[in-house]
Amino acid sequence: MDFILEPWAWYVGGPLIAISLLLYFYFGKNFGASTNFETLCTMAGAGMFSDYFKKDWKERDFALLFVIGLVIGGYLSSTYLIPNQQIDLNPTTVNELTDLGFSNVGAHYFPEEIFGEEVFYTLKGFLILLVSGVLVGFGTRYAGGCTSGHAITGLSSLQFPSLLAVIGFFIGGIIATWLIIPSIF
């Protein structure tokens, strides 16, 4: 049973996501994660500032359960299923990241330089997370979906806007990886 404690291979993770999608649709819902940001904003009262948020959030209450499920999933897997966080990265990747100043590349799922205590003590650490979050929140709403909604649901149902969204994801991801990370680290 030890294989449960190793990182799960892509051919396990991918199908599990598809099964998750199946369950969502079976229960009459859509498979997507980014609408939760809108729902949370609406619940927090954003309707006072903008008509966009005057939605009936009660009909999206399953979204809250989804969010809670995600948190529980993260907690359970991190506490019980990940005894060591070694990642099997391509050695070239490890070298390139080390050159940029990252230490212990591949030893943690979350690089300390972005997710560690820097977050509390430096403006840079704080801003990196906050700004990334803003980009994710704004971008997913502008595009109308995230990797779950567009890349998986949208592409598998052959919708053209989703293809455009995924192209956008790649453009952004490549710019981030090749231009932004090297310039901030």
Partner: protein, 107 residues
């Protein structure tokens, strides 16, 4: 993922998409129905050229820097509380910002 030096993420997303495509066909032909016995219709994405492309790019930037996409922000919260909270606050701000600007943005 974006250094193209590792297959893992492509395997996950690609694998999920391929299998989901099969499911989508089963939905379309009514072979799999939902719990109420109705035919399953995935929601149509909003039409537009600039919005998915530009929105996707913004998202890709945030994803590329932090490594977190939408659902993972909540998963990370179960893992490492405070950093995830910053990501979440950012995401809510971003979504809020979009809500305020939505009428004025190109489609």
């Amino acid at each position: 993922m974006f250094k193209f030096q590792s297959f893992h993420m492509y395997g996950i997303i690609g694998g999920a998409v391929v299998i989901s495509m099969v499911f989508m066909q089963l939905f379309k032909r009514g072979i799999i129905k939902d719990i109420h016995g109705n035919k399953i219709h995935p929601k149509q994405k909003k039409k537009g050229i600039i919005s998915p492309l530009l929105g996707g790019t913004f998202f890709g930037l945030g994803w590329g820097i932090s490594g977190a996409c939408a659902a993972p922000i909540f998963v990370i919260f179960g893992f490492k509380l405070i950093p995830a909270l910053l990501l979440l606050v950012g995401a809510l701000l971003g979504a809020f910002l979009y809500g305020l600007l939505s009428k004025k943005l190109p489609n």
